[in-house]
């Protein structure tokens, strides 16, 4: 149905969005690339000339580099794992008949509306504070030594906070997918004597494949960039320094824009590796 005419029109209609995003991508990217080859120290007078690949070498040979990549992957992987598993369980539960379904749904999606700074502040102070936090009170009530969440279980704590924020998103998408599942198919399977577990494994789960892919893809994009949660809770201490955070430290705390820009280029590379990896593994589900 695509005539010559409509193709031309389509191109024109796509142009504004493509053009804007191209600018939004190219301008910062070019500037990042430009700065990454510069010795650029704002507090020492700014541009101090070209340095070739010095920044790239320095960034990658720093003892913080590989741990930060690892931390990034652990946080992204951990949050994805938790949100997808719990999301599926919650979606299945919420799809069952019950009283007050609407209200429960509201309760479950609420964390998604909370800004990351606020959720990090609330978790850090009111729950994870080792003296006045609610968890500390709870632990003491059961006669246990309060856990020092943000120092002794720092990575787990951050994964938990971020999972809390993103669980609603995963649940919502998975829930809509489950609701579109053909009821008759399930009923037929039940008549054939399939157990609930079997029905879930052979009918529901395959049906959710596409939704899971979407959840993983969208969340990965956002999770690679998480910043506020770390800035507020640990400030990158106790092994919670992600690649994004390391770049922040180089650019803003050390005021070395050149070095940070080189880090930015590495982060783009890492993001793209993750993206390609995702596409290969789950991309088949994405045939639009």
């Amino acid at each position: 149905m695509a005539t010559q005419h409509s193709r031309a029109a389509a191109r024109i209609m796509m142009a504004p969005a493509v053009f804007l995003l191209l600018v939004w991508m190219l301008v910062p990217l070019t500037m990042t690339l430009y700065f990454s080859f510069k010795k650029y120290l704002p507090l020492r007078g700014g541009d101090l000339g070209w340095t070739g690949f010095d920044n790239y070498v320095r960034f990658v040979t720093s003892s913080s580099f590989w741990p930060s990549v690892q931390t990034t992957l652990v946080i992204v992987g951990g949050v994805l794992f938790i949100t997808v598993i719990l999301g599926i369980m919650l979606a299945v539960l919420l799809n069952q008949p019950m009283w007050g379904q609407g209200i429960v749904r509201i309760l479950v999606i609420a964390p998604f509306f909370v800004m990351p700074t606020v959720s990090a502040l609330v978790w850090k102070n009111m729950f994870m504070d080792p003296v006045n936090g609610l968890f500390a009170h709870l632990w003491k009530f059961f006669g246990a030594e309060p856990v020092q969440w943000l120092s002794q279980a720092s990575l787990q704590s951050i994964v938990m906070i971020v999972s809390w924020q993103w669980l609603p998103f995963a649940t919502l998408i998975l829930l809509t997918a489950i609701q579109s599942l053909d009821r008759e198919q399930l009923e037929a399977a039940e008549m054939d004597g399939a157990q609930p577990v079997q029905r879930f494994a052979f009918i529901t789960l395959p049906h959710l494949g596409r939704a899971i892919t979407i959840v993983i893809l969208i969340q990965t994009i956002f999770l690679l960039a998480i910043f506020a949660e770390i800035f507020v809770t640990t400030g990158g201490a106790f092994g919670t320094r992600t690649l994004t955070y390391l770049i922040f430290q180089r650019v803003l705390e050390s005021q070395n824009v050149g070095l940070g820009s080189a880090g930015g280029v590495y982060a783009i590379i890492l993001a793209n590796i993750v993206a390609i990896f995702l596409m290969r593994i789950v991309g088949k589900n994405l045939d639009a």
Binding site: L43, R58, S151, G236, F238, S254
Partner: protein
Amino acid sequence: MSLKVSTLLSACAVTALTTAATAETITIATVNNGDMIRMQGYTDDFTAKTGHEVEWVTLEENVLRQRVTTDISTKGGAFDIMTIGMYETPIWGANGWLVPLDNLSEAYDAADILPAMAGGLSHDGTLYAAPFYGESSMIMYRTDLMEAAGMEMPDAPTWEFIREAAAAMTDRDNEINGICLRGKAGWGEGGAFITAMSNSFGARWFDEDWKPQFDTQPWKDTLEFYVGMMNESGPPGYATNGFNENLSLFQQGKCGMWIDATVAASFVTNPDDSTVADKVGFALAPDNGLGKRSNWLWAWALAIPAGTQKADAALQFIEWATSKDYIELVAAKEGWANVPPGARTSLYENPEYQKVPFAKTTLDSILSADPGSPTVDPVPYVGIQFAAIPEFAGIATEVSQEFSAVYAGQQSIDEALEKAQALTADAMEAAGY
């Protein structure tokens, strides 16, 4: 125009003149500490006197630093006044980024600013920021617990005494920790404390050739002493405690001693917030017999970024906020204990203020701090709990993160010092030393 020689009237007269010229709106970036919030509450007094309006941008300390540093180094011009500290001022002043405060009015009496503060906020003898309040650090301790332990706090104790007293005061069953100290990562938090402490142990950040010194014995001694004492007598989770966490512990009666900023004295003695308000004593920060005490020096100061169109109005604000009149205004409304401390000599000569229990120890602490010669061995940098070079904030934050990992039991002291040495050397090399 009558020219009566009264500070207040002449200030009004000068401002009345400029009011007639233009009433401006100035934007001020500041930190969300109690004294600054109080200052915001009195903005109307400034507007009434000068006609200028004020837009406040109040941010948490880390966010503020990030914000103002970006803006000043790009000449963004988003703010007409920035609240900065003793670390930033000399560096920015040297870069020509700040308006020199060399034409302060007579009534303002710039000579009254405590010399230690003026020195730390100057570059090459020119003042670039006016101190709103200044602080050193000192020991705050519970007189009742000290007595119960059968000990007596000297005016100028040693670290050995502190460790002993801390152990004697500790009563873990009743949630009383002998000593609370900062362990939180960040150059202005735990980093500031351990650096000031290390000075009294004979350690230093760099030798005279800017070579990092974390591979020397004094640093190891410092950390071993700190960790040893905190494990014996410190609160659980001290690796994440900063100023604020320790403040609330102390106010709740959970600390025997606390070595921290002198400004905390007014919070721990305020009966509205503190359960131990009437049981607090003060002493100088400890030493180790090497000739340097472990107290620091800091000021939160107001500076005008070069290039602002509203430098005149901004200067008027600075003169108002850091004046003797402002101190009297706060004293009249909220009592002498709540005035911004540590900035002016005249405050400590005021007989009313001398009645405040912590006034004398605060002044003595400030006077005993010497940013020009902070360490036992000579160093090429200025600053006690920091080194006033642009790279320091970044390096010290990472170093303090390594130290905090030690406090949390995640690595050994040797490992941390080795990493600190490597990352400092690397960053200094990147900066071109």
